[in-house]
């Protein structure tokens, strides 16, 4: 465990530091000057200078970078340029909603992928396997933003089962909150669930063709136990790796899904930031995404070593 952290943590931190460089530099490469963008094209040189001074844009780049990094580590992200308010507050307002959305989606991914994969890999009836294949193919073939709109159309407009959009705090009204969460989370989860289900199904098929399954069969172990107790533990590690990569896709997909369902989260915030060229907001949110990704990868690796004893002992 300790050797594992010693081996993996440095490369994760390296990615994080490199990403912070990249984010900072790229946003400084923008043609035009943020001060002009902020103060408007007609602003006087004096106003521009004042804006620059206020935002620290007149300092040399390394100084600006260190200032930013210091702020991030100290929890003070400074003021936003265009949206208004402090970046920390903006992120603080949206983060709970986005975490709810992505975690809800992640839960759905697991709940959908596992039974689908097991059904697809173990059924002896060809129609069942074909149906699972067709379902995952269909989900993968329709863009998520179309799936979202179709869900709204069917579940909200036509059937009236769920609200079409909006958000309710999980603490104040849990039942309403879940109703609001259901559709966006499902929309976000579907493509990833299809990807994970496919990988897991492939892994299970491969595991079921292995010699140790033949051994278990020769010992009289039941088919059910062979699938769940012998083959699945072998198929899980690589499926977990795929799941880890899908968390990145969930975070990215949240931007679109929040737009469709008017979900007041960080996705809306970053979109606003990009459209209105509010660089502190974009910069901090990008860093947050990278940090999440790095953390998830570490957790994935940790889960892998826990699931596969061969790696554990190396």
């Amino acid at each position: 465990m300790r050797t594992f952290l010693l081996k993996r943590l440095p490369s994760g931190l390296l990615v994080l530091v490199l990403a912070s460089f990249l984010i900072f530099l790229i946003l400084r490469l923008i043609p035009g000057d943020p001060a002009t963008a902020l103060a408007g094209p007609d602003a006087s040189p004096a106003t521009l200078a004042a804006v620059r001074d206020r935002l620290g844009l007149d300092q040399p780049l390394p100084g600006q970078y260190l200032h930013w990094l210091g702020g991030v580590l100290g929890g003070d992200l400074g003021p936003s340029y265009a949206i208004g308010g402090r970046v920390s507050d903006l992120i603080g307002n949206g983060i709970a909603a986005t975490v709810q959305l992505t975690l809800g989606a992640l839960l759905l991914v697991v709940l959908l992928a596992l039974p689908l994969a097991v059904a697809g890999a173990t059924t002896r009836r060809r129609p069942v396997a074909a149906a699972v294949r067709a379902l995952t193919t269909a989900v993968l073939a329709v863009p998520p933003f179309v799936t979202g709109v179709l869900l709204v159309l069917v579940l909200a407009v036509t059937l009236g089962l769920l609200p079409a959009g909006g958000h309710e705090s999980l603490l104040d009204a849990p039942d309403l909150a879940v109703q609001y969460l259901a559709m966006p989370a499902l929309c976000l989860a579907l493509p990833s669930a299809a990807v994970v289900a496919r990988h897991l199904e492939d892994g299970l098929r491969r595991a079921l063709a292995e010699d140790y399954v033949r051994t278990a069969t020769a010992l009289g172990v039941s088919r059910r136990r062979i699938v769940w107790q012998h083959a699945l533990p072998n198929a899980l590690p690589s499926a977990v790796t795929v799941l880890g990569l899908q968390v990145g896709q969930l975070i990215a997909g949240a931007v679109v899904v929040e737009r469709i369902f008017a979900w007041p989260g960080l996705g809306q915030l970053i979109e606003q930031g990009v459209v209105r060229r509010d660089y502190p907001v974009v910069q901090d949110l990008l860093l947050l995404v990278v940090a999440c990704y790095v953390a998830v990868q570490l957790l994935t690796d940790l889960a892998y070593t826990w699931l596969d004893p061969r790696v554990r002992w190396e």
Binding site: D211, G220, V221
Partner: protein
């Protein structure tokens, strides 16, 4: 005689083609039966058909497998499950892939135990430890929580046997139980099987390509070829006076340890050494966790000489071979070729023949391209001259020149090995390093490839380093033999002397482990 297993007219078809054709035999309680045959003889399919565990596409089309009065070939799946592992159990060839890598050994034993009958957890755990102890795993109770990769190859096969013993089955089917193991470990496993047969009265069916293995474990013997039984009888009788021509052929092809070396008839080694290895060392891994594969190896190879190198897996044979051809950089010592420093990079005059005729040929290239590659690499000849040379080489190794246009997959194992030899000969080497060149081949094919190598040595005066684990083969082809153990050469000497009067105890141990054919006096009890 109390018959436990009666197989009658068993016929298995794979997508229309017959793999097993009307096989029948009877097995009495506590009896031992060997099934021997080369690849494609249907022996393993027969074994799997006994438990009706044929791979996809395979089907029992006729016959019956009667165990304790019930026909397993016709039993419904759920009733069959209740029989598998409880009344008839099976041991497979490769103990690494046949054990579940992510489950502990205790858990796998527990799965076997709970598959039939419901005993409380504590009782099952105790029984699991008892089983491990029975098959000779030290500190059995403590090792239940370990995973398969934490055991050696021989121990894994012991664990496989423990799994099969979980319910005191009446019949134990062992499919190539020792094929993946070293000779000394093989001997231990065969002894274990024999002991179990004697102590528990379990009837034993051993499937093997190796007549020696059968001779050591089984009272009776079936010889299979092309899905049919061509000869059957008491092991000693069949081996002593084979009646079927195929059995005779098979017996003649098996290299015998007591046959003297035939190398002197091929060539007389030159006086000045061609290849000199001194103090060669190789260490793998980081500074903290290093593994030393070679410890100060000294070796000389003369022109026209065959030096046999024997040792078990992990002894450093392959590492040495790779260092000699310049594929691995040694960490210490030096390699001199014709008195000049070599071994830092591949040398035109030192070529190699590989063990696995499947993975050592590039599947994407035609045979002609494969053989021409060394010529292109060494810029030998133009396109036309290379084509002519490829044709010449193919003829030299006994293949038709038209083979050049086809891909390796169109050839059998033995033919592929000939292609590998032709490739090695292409740049006109004077030293051939052969790393287990025949161990993946059937005995009859083995004999042909050995004959080819001998002929090439006669014609070309090659110096050959012949690496193998099979002492009988090595004695036959070598002028001298070097024995390798844990990265060191423990003994070197004239081939016949090393075999008949070994000086090092390890050599003696290796020799004792060879399951010789004439020792065909099975130690198993005959009939209960």
């Amino acid at each position: 005689m109390n018959t436990v297993l009666r197989v009658d007219d068993l016929t298995v078809a794979f997508d229309g083609s017959t793999a097993v054709d009307g096989v029948g035999f009877e097995l009495a309680a506590g009896d031992t039966l060997g099934i021997v045959g080369e690849s494609g003889s249907g022996k393993s399919t027969t074994a799997l058909a006994l438990l009706r565990m044929l791979p996809p596409g395979g089907r029992i089309t006729a016959g019956s497998v009667e165990l304790a009065g019930r026909d397993l070939a016709a039993l419904p799946e759920e009733e069959l499950r209740a029989v598998r592992g409880r009344r008839i159990a099976m041991i497979f060839q490769d103990p690494m892939s046949s054990l579940n890598p992510v489950l502990t050994v205790g858990r796998q034993l527990d799965e076997a135990l709970r598959a039939h009958g419901s005993r409380p957890r504590a009782e099952r755990a105790a029984r699991a430890a008892e089983l491990l102890d029975l098959v000779g795993i030290p500190d059995a109770a403590g090792r239940l929580r370990d995973h398969p990769h934490q055991f050696s190859g021989g121990q894994r096969q012991r664990i496989m046997i423990a799994l099969a013993l979980a319910h005191d089955a009446e019949v134990l089917v062992a499919d190539e139980p020792t094929t993946a193991l070293d000779p000394t470990v093989q001997r231990q496993i065969l002894r274990l099987l024999t002991r179990i047969n004697r102590e528990t009265g379990t009837a034993l069916v051993v499937i093997s390509h190796d007549l020696g293995v059968i001779a050591h474990t089984c009272r009776r013997l079936l010889v299979m070829r092309g899905g049919r039984v061509v000869e059957r009888g008491d092991t000693a009788d069949v081996l002593g006076t084979p009646r079927h021509p195929y059995t005779r052929e098979l017996l003649a092809a098996v290299p015998r340890l007591d046959e003297p070396s035939a190398a002197a008839a091929n060539s007389t080694p030159g006086a000045t050494p061609l290849l000199t290895v001194s103090g060669l060392g190789k260490t793998y891994g980081s500074r903290r966790r290093s593994v030393t594969a070679l410890h100060g190896v000294d070796l000389t190879l003369h022109p026209g000489e065959t030096l046999g190198l024997v040792g078990e897996s992990g002894s450093g044979k392959s590492t040495l071979a790779r260092a000699l051809v310049g594929a691995h950089q040694p960490s210490a010592g030096r390699i001199r070729f014709r008195g000049e420093e070599a071994g830092r990079a591949p040398h035109r005059e030192i070529q190699m023949v590989f063990q696995d005729p499947y993975s050592s040929l590039n599947p994407r290239m035609t045979v002609g391209r494969i053989i021409a590659e060394p010529l292109i690499a060494h810029r030998l000849g133009d396109r036309e001259r290379r084509a002519a040379r490829v044709a010449e080489l193919l003829t030299q190794v006994g293949l038709d020149p038209s083979a050049a246009d086809r891909h390796p997959r169109a050839f059998s194992g033995g033919q592929r090995q000939r292609i590998g030899i032709a490739r090695a000969l292409a740049p006109e080497p004077s030293v051939l390093i052969c790393d287990e060149p025949v161990s993946a081949l059937d005995v009859s094919v083995q004999a042909q490839v050995i004959e080819l190598l001998a002929r090439l040595q006669r014609e070309l005066g090659l110096a050959v380093l012949f690496i193998a684990h099979d002492l009988a083969v090595v004695r036959r082809v070598s002028h001298r033999i070097a024995v390798m153990h844990r990265g060191r050469i423990v003994e070197t000497g004239p081939a016949d002397r090393v075999v008949t009067a070994p000086e090092h105890p390890y050599t003696a141990e290796l020799l004792a482990a060879v399951p010789a054919l004439d020792a065909a006096r099975p130690t198993t009890r005959s009939t209960a």
